[in-house]
Symmetry: C2
Subunit: 434 residues, 2 copies
Amino acid sequence: MPVFLSTQDADFEARFRALLGAKREDSPDVDDIVAGIIADVRARGDRAVLELTTRFDRLELTAETLRFSDAEIAAQCARVPEDERRALEQAAERIRAYHVRQMPADDMWTDPEGATLGWRWTAVAAAGLYVPGGLASYPSSVLMNAIPAKVAGVERLAICCPTPDGVVNPLVLLAARLSGVDEIYRIGGAQAIAALAYGTETIAPVDKITGPGNAFVAAAKRRVFGKVGIDMIAGPSEILVIADGDNDPDWIALDLMSQAEHDESAQSLLITTDTGFGQAVTEAVGTRLETLERRAIAGASWRDFGAVITVRDLDEAAALSNRIAPEHLELCVADPEALADKCTHAGAIFLGQWTPEAIGDYVGGPNHVLPTARSARFSSGLNVLDFLKRTTLSKMTPEALRAIGPAAEVLARSESLEAHGLSVTARLDRLNRD
Amino acid sequence: MPVFLSTQDADFEARFRALLGAKREDSPDVDDIVAGIIADVRARGDRAVLELTTRFDRLELTAETLRFSDAEIAAQCARVPEDERRALEQAAERIRAYHVRQMPADDMWTDPEGATLGWRWTAVAAAGLYVPGGLASYPSSVLMNAIPAKVAGVERLAICCPTPDGVVNPLVLLAARLSGVDEIYRIGGAQAIAALAYGTETIAPVDKITGPGNAFVAAAKRRVFGKVGIDMIAGPSEILVIADGDNDPDWIALDLMSQAEHDESAQSLLITTDTGFGQAVTEAVGTRLETLERRAIAGASWRDFGAVITVRDLDEAAALSNRIAPEHLELCVADPEALADKCTHAGAIFLGQWTPEAIGDYVGGPNHVLPTARSARFSSGLNVLDFLKRTTLSKMTPEALRAIGPAAEVLARSESLEAHGLSVTARLDRLNRD
């Protein structure tokens, strides 16, 4: 059974803290293995990647077959049923339209001292996207990672997606094609991350790596960070639904289960102003868990990490939500916009009862790669800025240097950095001579 | 002597690669020590911090004196000479004016399907800033870290700055006061990072930690990453100057030395279209190295990591610059804007001979915390976005759900995530019944 709490309980604070602090994931320590794999790929390139693919994916490849050919991609894409193709196209279009609006503007201005200042955004030149193989091979994640990269202007976008025993997911290839991906390699694990970061004879290195993966992939991403940029290391998924009593308990139950079915470590939380409604949702969850295909996973997640919290009012709900900093926050209340204004830490907010979180996973438009494990306190979901970098620009005129150079000389002296000061002094001396 | 290269040399590519790949920093492996310190601070809070401060900084503090009192700060600030105060104020004002322009806008719109979409930026609630003590205690770095945080709207900004043997830098305190810092603690090292990340009885935990530090601080930041956000782990500083023959060799020599004097591992590079000018700069460096206060450091950096590269033309210079992805890039050429357009990977660009890099360190306005070690290929200098996070928003109407819900159902089915699909189906069923 999930935890039932009420802010009116005497021991609420202690129990809420326990819920917040619950360790939901025990990452196996694979760091030594991963360090060995990365060193091997750096030393032996393609040969190491091919041998590791034989070992882990039971698949014999050559340098020539590491990469999917255009013909193979076309053939696989042709296998996708028409309704799935159309759904993927609609999703891609909506995700693109949303992310295009995120493109930031350059700026350049001249200030009263005569200094011209500004910045310029440019795209990362090459990015790599990891796509898990097997059961967790999600075409929607391909769209969510690849489209922002291409919108940002990344010229070369490579995907690594393992195909254990040679099993290919045609939807992943179609999603890649719809997103404009340039290269697709059928390799996975730490060896794929190493190949993307350091390059091999066949795979050119990239500058940034994004995308979800298992413990080996996560450990490899941490290790290559610095050599390349990485996105966040995602933890298990979470949803918090804040609902008043005026909702269909079954809808809310399904929203909670749509996180719980991801993973036994996922967490589904309900905060409600109506104890009876909380009870009704719990019953609806029980009913749905009798028939759901993934009931074993969803049931375990709900049992171990689920919670229903009764609050006095929505202000209390918002305060708790900010302490949770949920990845997904669904606001099923009469005035969701007003409540959203008070919820300052959340990855994505879904407003009102007609916006189930699953819409955001696929076709809403916003990204579904979102900060987990309370990291919405300090980070954002994947977006075009993850594939851009800002270069600052400044240009002094002789007049501007006269106006602000002396302060630089004083501060350089106070920090005992003489050459810093002299580089200004030498120029000011010339101005004073002329 | 620095390395002299020409793109016309037969072995240029190999020697340039060697220059790019030169390992400039040997970080001592302090990870085990740091892990122990963090565990100790988590377990024993203030007591651990106080004992470690006694051990490492030879300073006896109590929970009451960990933090600078307002009276102490005021007394220390009063010691700052008038010219330094004015310089710091001018710098703070210019840095603030620049970063205010970086504040991103929220957005919200309704698309043709009736879906309302958008995003909202909110500030990190609490941030911690590490400021090194002793010789490398730079008031300018306080301004560069603290002002963007306050411009972003961070409510609580805490500084940790060790004061070994009790020696306080009044300029650091004044910089903190000018930046609007809320709390200043006289602690340092891994224990300060642990206290900021996990909190103690006296120090409340923060959500994000920025600022430079030694190997212990860097290792501690890596370790607490995930629990809190961190900024980049900075490596030794770099400058690349691209100059034609129409420059004063002494100015360029001083610009190169203003990086070299930071650190023996710093790197100063000159690319020029004019071999004779390169020679003249080298001679000017030699002359300046005879008298510079920090000649031992600057000389070692120039000797071990400096380079002068002659190119055929500025296009070649831009191509090499993009492979270097320098932290600081100075363009001392007739048309610096045209050259800047071709230099796509750089932390900060300084346009024209009247813009020595040192201006950017202090009073230009742009941030001086910039990506090192080629990471300008995928990351940006510190800016207000580092203290903000974006929450995405979506709201479906029944009509919008009718228009896009079916695609979500199809994709959920294709990914075998039944509850995802059912959360949409249940709502569409109601619409179809009504």
